[in-house]
């Protein structure tokens, strides 16, 4: 269990060094490191078992698995809005399309409102 957790942490570290842009790095960090922590917690549960440890470990596990995707999603959204360029090879960019659509709709609404006034 400890070796598995360490291997996942190492994968996260390699991903941080090797991958090309923010979005890929975030993908590496979030999933690999939360899985690594889950394995570490399983090792702690197995090696020193007591009810206190079990409850606290399950709490940490649930919290990590619930919050890591939320945090990474918020940062990815902020990075995208900052206009940080994606590396070549991405096929589609739905958030950009939706943001542009919202902007043009807002402009249209503003223009028509101005005309009515």
């Amino acid at each position: 269990m400890i070796i598995l957790g360490s291997l996942f942490m190492l994968v996260a570290a390699l991903g941080v060094i090797r991958l090309q842009d923010v979005y890929m790095r975030m993908h590496a960090i979030t999933k690999a490191s939360s899985l690594g922590i889950v394995f570490y917690l399983l090792a702690v549960i197995i090696s020193c078992f007591s009810w206190n440890t079990l409850i606290a470990s399950v709490l940490v596990m649930v919290f990590i698995v619930a919050t890591a995707p939320v945090a990474s999603h918020m940062i990815a959204r902020a990075a995208h809005m900052m206009g940080i360029p994606m590396s070549k090879g991405y096929v589609m960019d739905h958030l950009r399309r939706d943001l542009d659509k919202n902007k043009t709709e807002e402009e249209n609404a503003g223009v028509s409102g101005g005309l009515e006034a």
């Binding site: 570290a13 060094i17 490191s33 939320v70 902020a78 940080i84």
Partner: protein, 96 residues
């Protein structure tokens, strides 16, 4: 419980400490080289994960299970910090 040397458990513990140290080094590399602010923010996440891993490894080495609360508190605080940074980034974008 201090594991006896030259067993599978002691090898696993040493291996885990080495891997976590390499993770810290990778985080430092990305923190210095990182071309943008979000790069440096996601390093916070990685460093927190590595710190939780070190705390859990020390729990197994020493057998002091009370330190699991440290891992819990680190997980809570880091989520707060990351969300705050994301909000801050979004706000700076809107001001531009």
């Amino acid at each position: 419980m201090i594991p006896a040397p030259n067993t599978v458990l002691s090898f696993a513990l040493n291996f885990s400490l080495v891997c976590l140290s390499l993770t810290y080094l990778a985080a430092l590399y990305r923190l210095i080289r990182g071309p943008s602010i979000p790069d440096r923010i996601i390093v916070i996440d990685l460093v927190a994960s590595a710190t939780i891993g070190i705390v859990l490894t020390l729990i197994i080495i020493t057998g002091e299970t009370i330190y699991i609360n440290v891992a819990l508190v680190i997980a809570l605080i880091v989520f707060m910090g990351t969300v705050a940074f994301a909000k801050y980034l979004k706000k700076t974008v809107k001001n531009d």
